[in-house]
C-alpha cells in the first residue's frame, strides 16, 4: 500500500545540514497498524509528515497505492489528503469555534461524493462509536483531553480514509485516556481493516502495534518490512 525508497529529508539550519531522514526504505501493507518509535530527534514525525503529504522529501520516493505522490500538484495533494488520508495530531487540533459534531463532519462536507445526509449519518455513527453522542453539541473547550482526542480520531476517520496517520496522539493524555484512545485505534483497525501509522515514544504502546519501525538519527534501525 505504501512503498518508500531511499527517503531523505535534509533541513538547512543556517550553515548546518540536519539529516532528519537519511535513506529510509519501507513498505506498509493494507490493514497494518504500524508504530513508528524512536528517541526524540530520530525522524519519527518527519517520516509521518512525509508519508502524510504534509511535507516534501529532499529526495527519494513515496508511492501510495501505486501513485508517486511527489508528482502531484498542490491541489492534487490536498485532494489526496481529503479523499485518501486521515490525521490525528498530538494536540487534537480541533477547530475551537465548531461543536464536536461540526468538527467531525467538516472534512466530509468538502467531498463531492458525500451528500449532507451521508455525512450527517456518518458523523452520528462515529459519535456513537466513540461514545460522545451526548456531547455532540459541545465545543472543544467543554471537553476533556481524552474526549478531544477521540473527536480528532472521529474527524480523521469520517471519510473512511485508506490510511490513518497519528502523531503521538497520546502525548498529552494520562494512561487511562491513552488506553481509551489506543483501544479505539485498535477497534478501528480491526473492524474497518484501517491502515494506521502512528508515531509513539511510549514503550507500553507496543502491544497495540502489528509492526514497529524503529528510527535512530534519521535511519531505520528495524521493522522495514
Amino acid at each position: 500500500m505504501i512503498e518508500i525508497e531511499e527517503l531523505r529529508k535534509i533541513y538547512q539550519m543556517g550553515a548546518v545540514e540536519v539529516k532528519a531522514l537519511d535513506g529510509v526504505n519501507l513498505n506498509i501493507d493494507k490493514g497494518e497498524f504500524i508504530g513508528i518509535m524512536g528517541p526524540s530527534g530520530s525522524g519519527k514525525s518527519t517520516l509521518l509528515h512525509l508519508l502524510g503529504l504534509l511535507d516534501d522529501p529532499t529526495s527519494g520516493s513515496i508511492r501510495i497505492e501505486g501513485i508517486d505522490v511527489s508528482r502531484l500538484t498542490d491541489w492534487e495533494r490536498t485532494m489526496f489528503r481529503l479523499y485518501k488520508l486521515g490525521y490525528v495530531f498530538q494536540d487534537y487540533a480541533l477547530v475551537p469555534e465548531l461543536t464536536v459534531k461540526e468538527n467531525i463532519c467538516l472534512p466530509a462536507m468538502l467531498r463531492t461524493d458525500r451528500t449532507p445526509k451521508d455525512y450527517v449519518e456518518a458523523t452520528r455513527d462515529i459519535l456513537h462509536q466513540i461514545g460522545l453522542w451526548d456531547r455532540r453539541d459541545h465545543l472543544q473547550s467543554e471537553l476533556s483531553g481524552g474526549q478531544q482526542q477521540r473527536v480528532a480520531i472521529a474527524r480523521a476517520v469520517v471519510n473512511t480514509p485508506d490510511i490513518l496517520f497519528a502523531d503521538e496522539p497520546c502525548a498529552n493524555l494520562d494512561t487511562e485516556n491513552s488506553r481509551l484512545v489506543l483501544d479505539l485505534f485498535r477497534e478501528i483497525n480491526e473492524k474497518m481493516q484501517q491502515t494506521i501509522v502512528m508515531v509513539s515514544h511510549e514503550d507500553w504502546h507496543k502491544e497495540y502495534f502489528d509492526r514497529i519501525i524503529r528510527l535512530r538519527d534519521g535511519k531505520m534501525v528495524n521493522g522495514g518490512g
Partner: protein, 404 residues
C-alpha cells in the same frame, strides 16, 4: 470554486464570528462603522457648509435670479416698468430691487464703516426671509422714515471692549437707540434702530437696512433705478426657465441665475470644499484599509496553526482564504450598516443643533448616493484588505503554518 466549498467557507466564517471572540468582532464592526462615519462626516459637513452658504446667499442676497444693469450702465433704469414686466412673467414669485450706499455709522463714540441697503420691505417679504430673523424689535415698514434695522454684528455687545472685538461693531446698540449715519455723499442722518436681526450669514449680519422711501430722501430724488433686482422663482419652475423667459421678453439687462453667480463668486471655494472632502474621504479609506489589513493579518497569524491543520485534513486553501474573506464581508457589511446609523444620528442631531460659526451654520449634507458610494468603496477596500493577508497565510507551507 464549487458551491459546496463556498458553503463550507461561509460556514467556517460564520461560526468563527458567532462563536469566536465576541469583543473582537464588536471592535472590528465598531472600527469599520467609525471609519465609515468619518468618511461620511467631514465631506458631508463640507457639502453642508457649501449648501448652507448657497442657501443663505439665495435666501438673503440674490434670491434665485439677479438682474443687473446692462454692460456699461450703472443702474437698472426705468425700475417701475422693469419690475412690472418681471413680476408679470410666468414662474416669477416676486421681483424686488435693492439700493445701496456706503456710510459711516456712529454710536457713542464708536465708528463703523458699513453699507446701507434700501429695500421695499413689504415686497422683500416675498423674496427674502429677512423679516423672520428679527431677534429684537420689529421689521421695517414701507413708510418708515428715519428708522433702520441692523444686523446683530453691527449692533455688537456692550460686554466686549472695542479692542477685544474680533468683528468691529457699534458696541451694544439696542432697539430704540439712535445711530448716526454719515453717507458717502456727506449727508448725515440719524436713525432710530427699529429692530435687530440675525440671519447667521456673516455678510448679512453686517448690513443695515432702511426703507426705499427713506433712501429716496437721502438721495434727494425718486429712486426709479437700482443697482440690482432680486427675483424669486415660484415653486415648480426652474431658474433657467425664468431666465430664458426674461431674456426672450427682451429684457436688456444682465440676467443671471444663482447657479451662474455662485459658480463665479464662490465656485472656487465650493470646489475647494469638495477637494478637502475628497481628501478626507481618501484618508479615512486608507485608515480603513490599513486597520482591516492589520486586524485580519493578526487574526490569520494567530490562527496559522489552525490554518495548517485545516489544510492538512484536506481543506483547500481557497476555502480557508474565502472563510476569512467572508468574515471580512460580514464585518464590513455590519460595520457599514452601523456606520449608516451613526451618520444618520449625527445628521439628525446636527439638523436640530447645527454647527454655528460666525460665517455659517453647518449641517452635514448627505445624499443617498453619498451613502451608497462610500459604502461600496469601503466594502471593496475592506474586502481587498481582508483577502490579502488571508491569501498570504493560506498559501503558506503546511509545516510552517502548523509550527506557527
Amino acid at each position: 470554486m464549487a458551491k459546496k466549498e463556498l458553503k463550507v467557507a461561509l460556514f467556517l466564517a460564520w461560526r468563527s464570528l458567532v462563536r469566536g471572540n465576541r469583543s473582537s468582532v464588536l471592535l472590528n464592526v465598531l472600527i469599520i462603522s467609525m471609519v465609515f462615519t468619518n468618511m461620511m462626516f467631514f465631506p458631508a459637513l463640507m457639502s453642508g457648509i457649501g449648501v448652507d452658504i448657497k442657501e443663505q446667499i439665495v435666501a438673503y442676497q440674490t434670491s434665485n435670479i439677479l438682474i443687473e444693469p446692462a454692460k456699461g450702465e450703472r443702474y437698472v433704469t426705468d425700475l417701475d416698468a422693469t419690475l412690472s414686466l418681471v413680476n408679470g412673467m410666468p414662474g416669477v414669485e416676486r421681483a424686488t430691487p435693492h439700493y445701496q450706499e456706503g456710510g459711516l455709522l456712529k454710536f457713542r463714540g464708536r465708528l463703523l464703516g458699513s453699507t446701507i441697503y434700501a429695500i421695499q420691505p413689504r415686497e422683500e417679504k416675498y423674496v427674502s426671509p429677512l423679516y423672520t430673523t428679527m431677534i429684537a424689535g420689529s421689521y421695517l415698514g414701507d413708510g418708515d422714515i428715519g428708522e433702520a434695522i441692523i444686523g446683530e454684528m453691527v449692533a455688537g455687545s456692550p460686554n466686549i471692549p472695542e479692542e477685544e472685538e474680533f468683528n468691529p461693531s457699534l458696541g451694544g446698540v439696542r432697539v430704540g437707540d439712535s445711530i448716526l449715519v454719515e453717507y458717502s455723499s456727506g449727508l448725515q442722518k440719524e436713525y432710530r434702530v427699529k429692530g435687530i436681526f440675525r440671519t447667521g450669514n456673516y455678510d448679512m449680519d453686517n448690513r443695515v437696512f432702511v426703507s426705499w422711501a427713506d433712501m429716496e430722501e437721502v438721495v434727494g430724488e425718486p429712486l426709479n433705478y437700482a443697482p440690482y433686482i432680486t427675483v424669486k422663482v415660484k415653486p415648480g419652475y426652474t431658474e433657467s426657465f425664468v431666465q430664458n423667459e426674461l431674456l426672450q421678453y427682451g429684457l436688456r439687462e444682465k440676467v443671471e441665475t444663482t447657479e451662474e453667480l455662485l459658480n463665479k463668486g464662490i465656485g472656487r471655494a465650493l470646489a475647494s470644499f469638495s477637494i478637502i472632502g475628497l481628501i478626507s474621504m481618501l484618508v479615512s479609506l486608507v485608515i480603513a484599509v490599513v486597520v482591516i489589513f492589520i486586524v485580519i493579518m493578526i487574526k490569520t497569524l494567530n490562527n496559522r496553526k489552525q490554518i495548517g491543520i485545516l489544510k492538512a485534513i484536506g481543506v483547500e486553501k481557497s476555502v480557508i482564504m474565502h472563510s476569512y474573506g467572508f468574515q471580512v464581508i460580514i464585518l464590513s457589511i455590519a460595520g457599514i450598516l452601523v456606520g449608516f446609523l451613526f451618520t444618520g444620528l449625527i445628521v439628525v442631531y446636527m439638523t436640530y443643533y447645527p454647527m454655528v460659526t460666525p460665517e455659517f451654520s453647518a449641517t452635514p449634507y448627505v445624499t443617498p448616493f453619498d451613502l451608497a458610494f462610500n459604502g461600496v468603496v469601503l466594502f471593496v477596500a475592506s474586502v481587498i484588505a481582508g483577502y490579502l493577508p488571508a491569501w498570504k497565510v493560506a498559501r503558506e507551507n503546511i509545516q510552517h503554518a502548523i509550527r506557527g
